[in-house]
């Protein structure tokens, strides 16, 4: 490393820091190792000058702005999040507690801009879309498993809604 002149008051030494530009282009991973995207930008708060979040780019999704609250680690090797982004639940299979496939996730509704799920819209061919509340979801992994006792009444698109 080059020799630098240092002008600091109470900040950490140079060797205790790393170059944030090296993070750009690296992968952002979710808690479970899902590749969320490549880091396009690291955003700083205009007032506090602290890191507020990152922007990731992925071919399959719109660019994501992820807040620092959801970031576990930022290094020059990449970024690790502390959650599984719920927006990646799209196109996952939805199955009942009995194992019946009722469709795929068409869209998700979050609580504002948080990662918390409010509900999902389930789609199956020739059936009307079904909205399932997050409270009825037992597990959201590779597939979404609904809770026991959830009564699914999917209608064909030609049937009248209640």
């Amino acid at each position: 490393m080059k020799v630098f002149e240092t002008i600091t008051k109470k900040e950490a030494e140079l060797d205790s820091t790393y170059n944030l530009s090296q993070t750009i282009g690296k992968k952002a991973l979710s808690d479970g190792g899902l590749i969320v995207g490549r880091i396009a930008q690291v955003r700083l708060n205009k007032n506090t000058k602290q890191i507020e979040g990152i922007i990731t780019r992925n071919f399959t999704h719109k660019p994501l702005y992820i807040g620092l609250s959801y970031i576990s680690k930022i290094t020059d090797k990449g970024v690790v999040l502390n959650m599984e982004p719920t927006i990646f639940l799209r196109n996952r299979r939805v199955i009942t507690h009995e194992g019946k496939i009722i469709g795929k996730v068409f869209s998700i509704t979050r609580k504002g801009t948080k990662n918390d799920l409010e509900n999902i819209t389930v789609y199956k061919m020739f059936r009307k879309k079904l909205i399932v509340s997050a409270n009825d979801i037992e597990k959201a992994g590779k597939s979404i498993i609904l809770k026991k006792g959830y009564n699914v009444r999917q209608k064909y698109f030609w049937q009248k809604s209640n």
Binding site: K26, K27, A28, L29, S30, D31, G32, G33, L34, I35, K73, T75, D76, K77, G78, V79, V80, E84, R92, R93, I95, T96, H97, E98, G99, K100, I101, K139, A140, G141, K142, S143, I144, I145
Partner: protein
Amino acid sequence: MSDKNIFGKNQIDALTSDDILGKEVIDTEGNFLGVVEKLFIDKINLNFNAIAVDKGLIKKGFVVGKGYIDRVTEHAVFLKTSIAFELKGLQVFDKDGEKVGKVKKVFTYGDKNMIKSVLVSMGINNDLEINSKYIAKIGENIRLNKCWREIKV
């Protein structure tokens, strides 16, 4: 179904081989692992022991002991756990998010579903065996709790 019964107990609620064979097998993460192909019954005590899961023409199937079966429902057989051998092919990242490689092989403790270590392919003729104690989380891929350079089995 025959009405004659010399068992002495009502078998209306019992499961039959028809209820299990051909059903999808799903793990705790919602992974569809395959289809129940066979039932294994101990030839001495005639107890149901395990099921064989068929993963299709190309992939190898596996056998799951009844202890790992959570429930048999109308549409599927649910397992209590994820299968260790399903880790093969997953990418491995270290604690800093650096890619280490892909899982080439999974070593378990005997025939149990407990991971002992994973063999990670880092390139041509370059494999690294990583003990399970360094695995932080298993999800879509595997994340370690240490930098790969510090890991030695």
